[in-house]
Amino acid sequence: MSVTMAGVNVDVTTQARPLPAKEFREVVFDVKDLGVSYSGNQALQDVSLEIYRNFVTAFIGPSGCGKSTFIRCFNHMNDLIPSAKVEGTILYHGEDMYGPEVDAVEVRKRIGMVFQKPNPFPKSIYDNVAFGPRVLGMTDGLDERVERALQQSALWDEAKDRLKSSALSLSGGQQQRLCIARCLAVEPEVILMDEPASALDPIATTRIEDLMHELKKDYTIVVVTHNMQQAARVADMTAFFSVNRGEEGQRTGILVEYDATSKIFTQPSDKRTEDYVTGRFG
């Protein structure tokens, strides 16, 4: 906002740049009435929300609220669990992700994932990053591709002189950035992160958070985190999940509130969100 004082336009904006208005956001995922059950036990139900392009979207909530189950729906990871059943729809750029002709491998190429514990292959740093491109036949200019991915994941300076060393010789924080580089090497559009920093020390955590901030210029990031302050720091949008307990004690995850992060942490609309973010209950 600017005001005119003594004929001069003065910028009086003091807050962080607000999020673009809804009509200017590009919807990457449109989730409608999503539910997931394992062997008939409803783990998550009635989730509807939109994930926007070049946003960091965080999922927070107490253990068992279904947030990890939910993030795994975005790249068909739940397909790997035989008893899992996904209901409702997820539209990815308008296409039904769970439609009959969808190829899970193609989906995972477009939508990469980083897990809680760094899980590099017991191979060299170079081979870890080159693994995805090789499997997918993207071998033209492989060296440049590996370098670019390591640059983007802020690991290049530390790794460039030891590309042939084992990935396991890296520190935990470096290994996690390597896993991010491995994910970036196949040029995905979306990066899913399930507790990406929970196994890291505070400094390594800060580096991952800085990286998320940097990467959202080119990618869409969805992150599950137990650390509420991390969500407050990195996310543009935050979804709060909680648990409903049924008559026989069965627990089902539900989406309670989904809004701009600044709103969730200053003026949440739902009492349950407030109880959770203020750390009083849950």
Partner: protein, 239 residues
């Protein structure tokens, strides 16, 4: 809708944090009691032209300052160590603002008392003394309403401060008008000129009370909103 987290997890957590917040708020309420004493003292000293009492009011400001500092430090600790969010964040920010407002009210009482001392040998005007008694009582009432509606999170009480402020503003305008008409006795005129500043101080105390009301509204609704807009008076309530 779902079961509330309070049902799911009946044991409230972060008790020490809650205690710190409670203590902070109790401290703020006590600070407002000090302001009321200071204001009462300043008005009495003025009415009775009592320089000794005025000195006491001036010295008493140290107690207010100490309380102000204690609250400020409490807020600093809470922000540094507890990372309050949502309603807790709004409470801490509101206490920060109100603390400053109260401390300024005490400073205004000091200014009144200094003027009382300077005017001790001058001739008071009965009409003005009565006007100050009225303004002082209104200011006290406003501080009480402001602190009570804050403590009870009561929006209506907070918003009623605008109407109360209008009364004190009118009294201020009457004082100024009366001073213009004081006549030619130099001792009365000098007293009157000094009393314009006293009147202005009391009027400012009313404004600070309205600011407290605005903080209550922020705490309750989450919206920053000025009750009245001095630079665009056409839309102002009560006009």
């Amino acid at each position: 809708m779902g079961v509330s987290l309070r049902d799911e997890y009946p044991d409230q957590m972060r008790l020490s944090f809650q205690e710190e917040l409670d203590r902070l708020e109790a401290n703020l309420q006590e600070e407002s009691e000090l302001i009321l004493r200071s204001l009462r003292g300043a008005i009495n000293a003025l009415e009775q032209q009592d320089a000794e009492l005025a000195d006491e009011v001036i010295a008493f400001d140290d107690e207010v300052d100490a309380r102000y500092l204690e609250i400020t430090k409490g807020i600093e600790q809470l922000l540094a160590r507890q990372t309050p969010v949502a309603v807790d964040l709004r409470l801490v920010l509101a206490v920060l603002h109100i603390n400053l407002g109260l401390e300024r009210m005490a400073d205004l009482c000091v200014t009144i008392s200094k003027l009382t001392k300077l005017s001790a040998d001058l001739k008071p005007d009965d009409t003005l003394v009565e006007a100050f008694e009225e303004m002082g009582a209104r200011a006290e009432e406003m501080i009480r309403v402001a602190m009570k509606s804050f403590s009870e999170r009561e929006l209506e009480g907070a918003e009623s401060l605008v109407d109360l402020d209008e009364l004190i503003d009118r009294a201020n305008r009457r004082v100024v008008k009366h001073v213009f008409e004081l006549g030619n006795d130099p001792a009365v005129r000098e007293w009157g000129l000094r009393m314009i500043i006293v009147s202005r101080c009391l009027e400012r105390i009313g404004d600070h009370a309205v600011d407290i009301g605005e903080q209550t509204a922020y705490l309750v609704t989450g919206e920053f909103r000025e009750f009245t807009d001095a630079s665009h008076p056409e839309g102002v309530a009560g006009e």
